[in-house]
Symmetry: C2
Subunit: 227 residues, 2 copies
Amino acid sequence: MNNPTRTIISRRSRPAKEPLSKDIIVKTALELLKSEGSSGLSMRKIAKALDTGPSSLYVYVTNHQELSAFVLDAGMESVVLSNEEGVSWEIRLYETLHSYLTVLMEFPGVAGLALNTIPIGPHSLALTEYILERLHEAGIHSTSAAWGLDLLMLYASSVAFEQASRAENGTTLQAISASYRSLNDKQYPMIASLQSELITSDGEERFRWGLEAILQGILQRQSKFGI
Amino acid sequence: MNNPTRTIISRRSRPAKEPLSKDIIVKTALELLKSEGSSGLSMRKIAKALDTGPSSLYVYVTNHQELSAFVLDAGMESVVLSNEEGVSWEIRLYETLHSYLTVLMEFPGVAGLALNTIPIGPHSLALTEYILERLHEAGIHSTSAAWGLDLLMLYASSVAFEQASRAENGTTLQAISASYRSLNDKQYPMIASLQSELITSDGEERFRWGLEAILQGILQRQSKFGI
DNA sequence: ACCTGAACACCGTTCAAGT
DNA sequence: ACCTGAACACCGTTCAAGT
């Protein structure tokens, strides 16, 4: 098959422009999202990055919202489903959701999509399946498992969304603490007395705290009511 | 001072246009949000509703984001802080957060703002103070109270946001259940087996379930670690 | 079958000019 | 001090026209 006389068949001179495809559109969109934040996810910018006009994209994607759903799922590809041997379901769940959070924060804008979009792409489904497996291991079944899944993903997504959108808006912690400090402590005594606790933000520890609170809540509700 | 000869001084003929003010801008914006969804919250539409050009708004508001923050707080005015006598902190908290959820869903778009924006307006602060009071009653203090507050508000806001944005996108429950039904149950056995539970959606009951799970989680973490 | 240009109906924001 | 018009730099989407 490998005829030596045809050695220099050379890469057949590629057309100046590679043809478009859903795949490279989604990939380009994801890169733009990473480099420019959620304003990078615009039909026009994606088109420009691909050296074409916005109308060209509509051959591969029916509208901006559908593209967003694809981008979300593509982003989910890099979530690591923790699968070490001999590690408790709880730790594996935490590690995985932490990875999910990290991915969402790496691509600002994807977090918004995660709340907007029904996660039915293959990578999202893999994550969903994984979480349900861990809950099953924990003895959480049926309605508790379904609603618990929802609660856990909602938690991680909204933490990421809150974080990302405040970062994009340039909301500094200082601005928040300044506004709390200026409060009338007669009118808002609880807020005033909890000032420093409200501002504290080791994100990592806080995220874990919330996750464990939710998990314990789910477990306890289940054992109490046997739902 | 009241000279009878000047009786018919009459309401001095008002100018054809009432002067603008931050107040009526915010009120108009809130109405548009209610009637048109989150796309109603645009400088141009608000201006048109006030029969002026968009540039006029910038006298009273520095930009769209600041206006959004005002609108969010104005929306919070109608949250009912449950204050019946002899009712447990838990029920009062549930009722109040349910009212918060209802308000957020009545104004689609406000839910997004609640996640975007630091809630430092007077009505938001009143709600914050109220929740901290109830947590205090429940014996939840310090870091647990601060983080618990955050978790509860994040929960209600994100449930509303998810609901509202799916409503705006026209995502039907049927679409979701159809996509779950079409799944390969070898690849996603857990999802397949929990199909009906995943789709179930008595919003009310589900919201309450999540809220109680979170509260129990907070209470238990506190008693366990004494944070 | 795919790509393009031009157009339509929108955005937020600025700024010189008017009263 | 307030309001206006016009402009700038953006959006998503459509559609007739080209290859």
